[in-house]
Amino acid sequence: MSLADVQITLAPNALVAHVTGEIDMSNAEEMGATVIGATPIEAQGVVLDLSKLDYLDSAGIYVIYGMRSSLQARGQALILVIPPRSPVHDALRLSGAEHPGEVTEAVEDALRAFDRVDPPSP
């Protein structure tokens, strides 16, 4: 059993990465690299769904900052899904850090934030 799992789906304009399990210094960098590596260059950005993540530590927060920088360098945005009262919300509160990117409470809200572009017709 690996400590965390990343499931990736592609929305019309963005990549959605659902992260579950626990992220700490043992797997944070791998998680970041997996998501960035899977992001198509034509996507407007990434929705990082942390709503079902059970644990995030400072190493994980650090990696999320790094993801934001990498995406910004490619002109892409990072939106985090962090509902109130979730473990990730608490971790960020304890760290006193400003949120490492735009935050929404649900994946749908995050997707709405990206420009709607109709998928190419067949």
């Binding site: 799992d5 626990e22 700490d24 043992s26 644990y55 530590d57 400072s58 190493a59 650090y62 304890l94």
Partner: protein
């Protein structure tokens, strides 16, 4: 204490007492007729035999050379640190019941641990663990370790149904047999392992515990599979590691026998495992397996139970589809946990399978089994289940519960039906933690599992658990970062509590490194924000972080 005395006795040969250890280094007197006849052990043809034939041949030759009633070969299961009966003559039940002897305990266990030959003049007055030796009426025993290039691979022992004093000549013969047999067994085992990889039936019959699952933080698991004497059966067990410190235990039994039942068992085991790791609860998991059976469009039915043990709070979520009730061992007591079972899988389409909760105290054992263990012709099933509860009560470990149940309930003549057992013991949580841990990133997840369980046991509420866990994990991450050469790669975690306040100390032996970027600084902010009081001492010998928090509780 008695145990220490006994060990002393083993080391200092004393005639007339129960046991005499015969050090293998002792010079052996004149070779006798017996010893000369034992050249047969060095027969080069032995090295060409398959493992089964080789073991059989060795048993025959040993029996003949020593004129004994019983001979047994037990081989080491290194992972479990147990001896497993592998071949026997005169006491074939040892092998059929899959007797397992922990290293260091009983007759064979001590031979293995101390690597000396042991002679037992009178079995009745000796520390003999294996009940079969007594049941068969063996009076005297002599055993020697099997060693290949300094590595212990097993034990060879012989027995006599009449009292017999085994002397130096007998020992010489046995040791010669052991010395010749060990390398041949080692070679044949390696060959056999390769062959087994291609043998589906063996994989089904002797599926092992997933690696490292024997000793998971917060619990211990033991398993058994005892095949039926004649036919292949459809019983199975499974142990599944799940997220958030949970472990799934599966026990199941496909209705019917033979290859078809075994094949269906393989499919059900896989489908249940696949649904379980998707995170479904036990009830839903069984419902999905039921749907899977229905989709096969062939007459197929099975009973199964799926239990999810949560190491954080020692609770079990349990669901059963027509399976026999589990037994819970609590110290000297054992109770049968009766829940209303749903119908067997494949019986009716689209049934709902409810979940039940079973609380385990630290040290309690949850024992799941299949009907082959408790079903006897002409005896009501409930009597068999009661006999099982009687047998396992008082067991101090999951392993011991398995040993007792198999010894007491598997008949000497073998089984008509196969038996699968999976038993889990919830660990006792110590009131204080004193852990020396490897300074590696993967240690952090283990620390959090241990700490969460410990905190729950101390009465911490959800918020306490989450915040203390992240603070301590951050402190440990610091310790792991400090552990760079030449500092030893480990750190110390101590935790204690009184009057609703807990204290956790993390000590490393590395030099404190000034905050590296925002990352570590953020780790420190988390520690300070989560705990009421934090002291950091940077000493020449290392860094110590002592954190206190009053539990909010519920």
């Amino acid at each position: 204490m008695a145990e220490a005395d006994r060990q002393q006795q083993v080391r200092r040969p004393r005639l007339g007492t129960g046991q005499i250890a015969l050090e293998s280094a002792e010079p052996i007197a004149e070779p006798s007729e017996q010893v000369r006849s034992s050249h047969r052990f060095s027969d080069p043809a032995l090295s060409e035999l398959s493992l089964e034939t080789l073991l059989d041949e060795l048993l025959n030759r040993t029996q003949e050379a020593l004129g004994v009633d019983t001979v047994a070969i037990l081989l080491l299961d290194g992972e479990a640190q147990q001896l497993v009966a592998r071949a026997a003559k005169g006491i074939e039940e040892e092998v059929e019941r899959g007797v397992r002897i922990p290293i260091g305990r009983g007759f064979a266990g001590r031979i293995a641990a101390e690597r000396v030959a042991i002679f037992i003049a009178d079995v009745d007055h000796a520390d003999v663990l294996n009940p079969i030796l007594r049941e068969k009426g063996i009076r005297s025993l002599l055993g020697a370790p099997l060693i290949v290039e300094g590595t212990l691979i097993g034990v060879l022992h012989v027995g006599s149904l009449t009292p017999r004093t085994f002397g130096q000549d007998d020992l010489a013969v046995l040791q010669l047999a052991a010395a010749r047999a060990a390398p041949a067994i080692e070679r044949a085992s390696l060959r056999a392992q390769l062959a087994h990889e291609h043998s589906v039936s063996v994989a089904l019959q002797r599926s092992l515990l997933p690696k490292g699952m024997g000793e998971f933080t917060g619990m211990r698991v033991a398993v058994r599979y005892v095949p039926a004497r004649e036919e292949v059966g459809g019983d199975w067990y499974d142990v599944i590691e799940l997220p958030r410190g949970r472990v799934g235990l599966v026990i199941g039994d496909v209705v019917g026998h033979g290859i078809a039942a075994a094949a269906l068992m393989g499919r059900l085991r896989t489908s249940l495992h696949a649904y379980a790791i998707e995170g479904h609860g036990p009830g839903r998991t069984l419902e999905l397996v039921d749907r899977f059976i229905q989709s096969l469009n062939e007459p197929a039915m099975a009973t199964a139970a799926y239990a999810v043990f949560d190491t954080y709070n020692s609770m079990v979520q349990y669901a059963t589809a027509g399976h026999l009730p589990p037994v819970v061992v609590s110290g000297a007591e054992a109770r049968v946990v009766e829940v209303t079972p749903a119908p067997p899988l494949g019986a009716f389409p689209y049934g709902r399978i409810p979940e039940h909760e079973i609380g385990l105290a630290g040290g309690d054992i949850l024992f799941l089994y299949t009907d082959g263990l408790v079903e006897r012709r002409g005896v009501p099933l409930s009597d068999g289940i009661d006999a099982l509860a009687q047998s396992v009560r008082g067991a101090v470990s999951a392993e011991e519960a398995c040993v007792a149940a198999v010894a007491d309930l598997v008949p000497l003549e073998g089984l008509r039906d196969d038996v699968a057992i999976v038993a889990l013991q919830s660990s006792l949580v110590p009131s204080e933690l004193h852990l020396r841990l490897p300074a590696e990133p993967k240690t952090l997840a283990q620390v959090r599992r241990i700490l969460r369980r410990w905190l729950v046991e101390r009465g911490a509420n959800e918020g306490d658990v989450a915040e203390v866990t992240i603070a301590v994990s951050e402190a440990c991450a610091n310790a792991i970062e400090h552990a760079y050469p030449p500092a030893p790669a480990s750190f110390q975690l101590d935790a204690w509590g009184n009057n609703g306040e807990i204290t956790v100390a993390v000590r490393d032996t590395g030099q404190w490194r000034s905050t590296r970027g925002q990352n570590r600084g953020r780790g420190l902010s988390i520690i300070v924000a989560a705990m009421d009081d934090v002291q950091i001492d940077r000493l020449d010998s290392g860094t110590e972080v002592v954190m206190r928090r009053r539990l909010r509780q519920t």
